[in-house]
């Protein structure tokens, strides 16, 4: 067992998704993704461009829930499409459902899109995001309800759909799926979802049991790396109220 908080492992795993991105708009959506993105910007990707969650680009790296002390630019809603369609962006979205090729659903649950069993948010920007810029996903509760054999509605497109589209999908790229249990990716010959690492204290069997399809597993699955003392100090500064522990309890 380990005394490291699971939320801290997740935050660092999310930060590592942005490693090597350089000067792009890092657009993590949600509490832990925002924290992880800001951690990356603070420690290893200082050129990442990030927003305050609304219309401004941040000039400093503020704690969660606080306005930036320095504003570095104007990025209103409509401007975001210029960035997305130009490709200089890495988004991390959520998913109500996701399948083995990374098809994502945030629109509705149920087979009939005209009369859903559960109306969710809508397609939002998922189709445009996934076909235009690199995309990762954050799943705070890894379960067979989310990781499904077939999503009810394809919003964000996966590798099988992108392959069918052909040349126009040449900017499609799914990077990683980070969950409360593990890190997954699509680095397989047929682009099926692969178990990249399991978080400390989680077994491969537990992750597979919480996944509604067979994961690609090659050999010994490594453990997700532990946060460094420096990273933990930055996380405490960026999230002094510990909102991350509410999203992912240890």
């Amino acid at each position: 067992m380990t005394d490291v908080a699971r939320a801290d492992v997740c935050a660092v795993a999310i930060a590592d998704c942005f490693r090597g991105d350089g000067e792009i708009l890092a657009n993590p959506i949600g509490t832990l993704p925002t924290l992880g993105g800001r951690l990356a910007r603070e420690l290893h990707e200082p050129r990442l461009v990030m927003t305050d969650g609304e219309a401004c680009l941040i000039g400093d790296t503020p704690p969660l829930g606080e306005a930036p002390a320095v504003i570095a630019g104007w990025n209103p809603y409509r401007r975001m499409f210029d960035v997305v369609w130009g490709g200089r962006r890495h988004v991390m979205m959520g998913a109500a459902q996701i399948d083995r090729y990374g098809n994502q659903n945030i629109a509705s649950i149920g087979a009939d899109p005209d009369r859903p069993m559960r109306q969710l948010l809508g397609f939002r920007g998922a189709p445009g995001n996934t076909i235009n810029n690199p995309t990762s996903y954050w799943i705070p509760r890894h379960s067979t309800r989310v990781f499904v054999e077939k999503v009810d509605v394809v919003c964000g497109i996966g590798y099988d759909r992108a392959a069918q589209v052909g040349a126009a999908a040449r900017f499609h790229e799914l990077r990683r799926v980070v969950t409360n249990l593990a890190v997954l990716d699509f680095e397989t010959p047929d682009r099926r979802m692969r178990l990249r690492s399991v978080h400390p204290g989680v077994t491969v069997e537990e992750v597979q049991a919480a996944t509604g399809f067979e994961l690609a597993i090659d050999g010994e699955v490594p453990q997700t790396r532990l946060p460094t003392p420096e990273e933990l100090a930055v996380l405490d500064r960026l999230d002094p109220e510990g909102l991350r522990h509410r999203e992912v309890p240890s």
């Binding site: 209103p76 189709p127 445009g128």
Partner: protein, 281 residues
């Protein structure tokens, strides 16, 4: 003009665009007036918030054109969800960038605009009206790419709420984001602007930079002064969202007879001035 004057110029079955975004800077005073009217079978186009939820709950909507409907701090709009899950309203779903292009195409008077957004997704499966177009120009490797052709999204009317305006329809947005508001106006046959305060034109540049005068008289047919008109949605910097009111509104959807109780208290028998006085109490 007044909210009632705006509603008098709408008709059953119209396609109405509503500005703002989620639970932000929504022209709610006109939405309330539509709820009080006998209008029906509207197609509502919106970056949806409580405008969509209330109009659905009031039975005014036949179809919603949307990429999302949300109350921001409450992720899902409860009355919109109920209308969708009961089959009470039809939907045309889109990627939010497709809504941008549809409005832009209507504003520019072209039949469509091309995009990658939507390719490979189920939008092409569930929207039988949506077509693709093959580029007449060769791309990399000589391939003629097939793209989504987003059709022009023509509006019969658009309603937008801003912070300040003059009597001619110069509209000023003092908050950080214009959203799609000017596009909604430019895509519409009849264009209505509501504002917190009507001021002399010279005051506009005194209270904000020239770039904040996002709406010009070319885009507007009528101006309504509606102080507090975005309530309960936010209209920064004039006021934030009324979170307590919004929580009560959302909670009412879970109660039996919740909408009837809400509309009895906040819509029926109140004009906008009485509504604003009641909110302040």
């Amino acid at each position: 003009m007044s909210e009632a004057d705006v509603v008098a110029r709408l008709a059953d079955g119209m396609t109405v665009g509503i500005g703002g975004w989620g639970s932000r800077r929504k022209p709610m005073s006109v939405v309330r007036e539509i709820c009080r009217s006998s209008l029906r079978d509207l197609t509502v186009v919106s970056c949806g918030g409580p405008d969509v939820g209330m109009l659905c709950a009031a039975g005014k909507v036949r179809r919603v054109v949307f990429a999302f409907v949300s109350l921001d701090t409450i992720p899902l709009e409860p009355y919109f969800r109920r209308a969708r899950e009961s089959g009470a309203v039809a939907a045309r779903q889109m990627d939010e960038g497709m809504m941008l292009l549809g409005l832009q195409a209507a504003a520019w008077r072209v039949p469509f605009l091309p995009t990658r957004a939507g390719l490979g997704s189920d939008l092409l499966r569930i929207d039988p009206e949506l077509r693709t177009v093959t580029s007449p120009y060769p791309g990399p490797g000589g391939v003629h790419e097939e793209l989504v052709a987003v059709p022009a999204l023509h509006l019969d009317a658009a309603i937008v709420h801003v912070n300040r305006a003059d009597e001619n329809g110069c509209g000023q947005i003092l908050g950080p984001d214009p959203y799609f508001d000017d596009l909604f106006l430019e895509a519409a046959a009849q264009r209505f602007l509501t504002c917190e305060r009507i001021v002399p034109t010279a005051e506009l540049t005194a209270s904000g930079p020239v770039q904040s005068i996002r709406v010009t008289p070319l885009m507007v047919d009528g101006v309504v002064e509606a102080p507090g008109g975005a309530h309960p949605t936010s209209c920064v910097p004039d006021y934030p969202r009324d979170e307590a009111f919004q929580r009560d509104y959302a909670a009412s959807a879970a109660e039996p007879g919740g909408w009837d109780a809400f509309r009895k208290e906040w819509i029926d028998g109140l004009d906008e001035r009485a509504y604003q006085e009641k909110v302040k109490r």
